[in-house]
Amino acid sequence: MSNIPADLKYAASHEWVRDNEDGTVTVGITDHAQELLGDLVFVELPDVDAEFGAGDGIVVAESVKAASDVYAPLTGKVTEVNEALIDAPELVNSDPYGDGWLFMLEVEDMDMMAGLLDAAAYEDGIEEA
């Protein structure tokens, strides 16, 4: 079934979060999410330095099937976006936890990481769905 790396944190809305241990996190969508979406054809990325609250829509992922919002899993400021996705959105399908990352966020309060799901809890969530 879908790949859910144990070293990442997750939001129920199918984003993964990697703690870069420098006050920033890298965010992408999970293998399960890319499978549900199907082939991505366009990713609308946020502006660098833009600020988002946890739960705000931050990226639009357009697949052959539909347009889906990706939500900011934590409150913070965008420090970098994956510009490779402008020409190669399919990286999100082929390597969702690696080259298909979406953006990096300078997080306002790292303690909020504790409110995210671990791999086991995320897996339970998608099995129930």
Partner: protein
């Protein structure tokens, strides 16, 4: 939910199965985009066994079809020749679109959509009154579409093994939009992708073996997802999306399928279409090409100087790398418009609704 005779083959090919008009069908086998490109560049096969094959027999089948269909089966004189037509109600609304094959003076074959099956059959049976015609559902037949620039050549190489001991020249020599019966198969040079290829009707018991042969020859299975993007690029309408019972052929880009001559032929919906034409058709059916990044989707609003319209089907064109759509817009709409894409107005070019044919772009992007 119903399953076709190829259900196990779909599972074996990792088909992602979804509900399509009550049938469990493959939407893709891994990547819709790759499947799309496979058909444009080589050859792929689709299980379209959910579609409905109907045979009409009897001495009065021709006048029956001349009343039933907006196109005129009198145009068919070569056995096997196919005609695309709308079936209208008396208000000129489209009950379904279909292909009719002329097999003999007293025998025609129709292929209609799966989603409209019951409604079509009820209407066609009601219309039988007064005609000496028998309608038979061919639920014994599966249907495979093999499409792409290499499709015919690959199929012809396999046919001797699949249909041994009979002459196959008739299949090899088929002209576009013509079919031929070979034993209990029917092979037609038709399709729904804008590429060359065949649509092949095969008895259920033989279709799995045919599929396995085609697969072994490198003809990849293609899901309904790619079928939709291929037909949209080809500018072919989809019933229920681009037109339905509330729209006439004249506002659906299908005016060319209405046979007005001879004027004496009274077909269902004729009076309504004539009135619509005389009053001036208020809308037209066009293609759109989005300028800039984004994806066009059905039901998005179109805005032009002449008023508002609506996208009937839209997608990202894998062949062209831009978003394309079919739309119903005011008749006076010019060669550019705007589309409301996720709350933003984005510019789009208005073109003829035909984007890719035989692997070749029909528009400049």
């Amino acid at each position: 939910m119903q399953r076709t005779a190829l259900y196990q083959q779909h599972l074996a090919a990792s088909g992602k199965m979804v509900d399509f008009a009550g049938w469990e069908m493959p939407i893709h086998y891994g990547s819709q985009l790759n499947e799309h490109k496979q058909v444009r560049g080589d050859a792929g096969m689709f299980d379209v066994s959910h579609m409905v094959v109907l045979d009409l027999h009897g001495p009065e089948v021709k006048p029956y079809l001349q009343q039933l269909l907006a196109n005129d089966v009198a145009r068919l004189s070569v056995p096997g020749k196919a005609l695309y037509s709308c079936m209208l109600n008396q208000q000129g609304g489209i009950i379904d679109d279909l292909i009719v094959y002329y097999l003999a003076a007293d025998c025609y074959r129709l292929v209609v959509n799966a989603a409209t099956r019951e409604n079509d059959l009820a209407w066609m049976r009601q219309q039988l009154a007064g005609f000496n015609v028998e309608l038979r559902e061919r639920d014994d037949l599966s249907m495979l579409a093999v499409q792409g620039p290499q499709a015919r050549q690959k199929v012809m190489a396999l046919l001797p093994a699949l249909l041994p001991d009979i002459a196959l020249d008739a299949a090899a020599e088929l002209k576009p939009f013509v079919g031929v019966a070979l034993r209990d198969w029917f092979i037609a040079r038709t399709g729904y992708t804008g590429e060359d290829g065949f649509e092949i009707m095969i008895p259920h018991a033989q279709v799995a073996a045919a599929w396995e042969h085609l697969l072994a020859a490198g003809i990849a299975p293609i899901g309904l997802g790619a079928r939709d993007t291929l037909r949209l690029e080809a500018g072919m309408n989809l019933y229920g999306t681009d037109m339905d019972i509330t729209t006439s052929p004249l506002v659906s880009g299908l005016g060319w399928t209405v046979a007005w001559e001879p004027a004496a032929r009274v077909f269902n919906g004729r009076a309504a279409l004539e009135a619509e034409r005389a009053a001036g058709v208020p809308q037209k059916f066009v293609g759109l090409v989005l300028q800039g990044k984004g994806v066009l989707r059905s039901h998005m609003q179109v805005v032009c100087a002449a008023g508002e319209g609506e996208i009937t089907s839209g997608t990202f064109s894998p062949s062209l790398g831009v978003a394309i759509a079919m739309a119903r817009v005011p008749a006076a709409c010019g060669d550019s418009c705007e589309v409301v894409v996720r709350g933003k107005l984005m510019p789009a070019n208005v073109v003829k609704p035909s984007f890719v044919r035989n692997g070749t772009p029909q528009i400049n992007v």
